[in-house]
Amino acid sequence: MNWIWFHKLASPPSAYVFATRLRPWLFWVSVVMMLWAAYQGLFVVPLDYQQKDAFRIIYVHVPVASLSLLVYSMMAIAAAIGLIWRMKLAHAVAAACAMPGAILTTLALATGSIWGKPMWGAWWAWDARLTSELILLFLYLGYMALRASFDDIGRADRASAILAIVGIVNVPIVKYSVVWWNSLHQGQTLSLFGKSEIDPSMATPLVVMIFAFLLFFGAVLCDGLRAEILRRERNASWLSELKV
């Protein structure tokens, strides 16, 4: 198998050009998918027999909560690749994941809290799922604060990579907290590969919304990565050849 394309992509100039070209496609496709899924979720899908209209929050809460875990996993894997193989671009990817990851986690906690009030009668409970998701937010914030505390990018990369790798232990805790502990939070109802407990009429817009958020995150990551590459490669000769 020819891996030249992969090695080429790992070079900052190629990654910069690739991210620049990919970003508008990801952005506009995600916007169209989000609008369709939001319309379906708000006005078309039927009421839930127990939660009534409040269940419509699912169409923003589930995608952002799922992505908060996925983005952290991606950040930790990229940080590990950067630390082990000393690949600068991997550190740049990890750094670019932190801000959108923190915003997605905050949104997951906020929309979960808004959903919790009418369903549980409380905005917040020190439940295993909620608490572990809050710890995830602190991990993102800690990662960003640690990076910001170093002037030297190399030292910031190494220190923050260790934090990201250690913090990955929290991801399965968040995911399986509803299985391992007696949680107030409902169990998983949607499975992409197994049997879902949610009706297909409700599941289809949800799946579309999950992919829409994923593509939107991809677009944001492209911009974040470009900023990181420009910051790290400020003395590189290829930048002067670039039409900036």
Binding site: A95, A96, I103, L242
Partner: protein, 68 residues
């Protein structure tokens, strides 16, 4: 579309505020990343221009802390 449909039983405030928050978060996420990228691009432009003019390259005004 009727007011009742927007009210969603007694859950309208919860549902609409969730969607509004999500919209704000998406805009913030895209704007922060875009601004960071534009800032770095402008700094790169300034450096390139300074190099062409034979002046010492200005230091980046952007990378304080190199935050994510």
């Amino acid at each position: 579309m009727t007011f009742e449909a927007l009210k969603m039983g007694d859950y309208g405030a919860y549902v609409w505020s969730s969607y509004a928050l999500a919209l704000l978060a998406l805009i913030a996420m895209a704007a922060i990343a875009r601004n960071a990228c534009n800032r770095e691009l402008k700094a790169a432009q300034r450096r390139t221009q300074a190099n062409r003019n034979g002046q010492p390259a200005p230091t980046s005004s952007t990378s304080a802390g190199a935050g994510a």
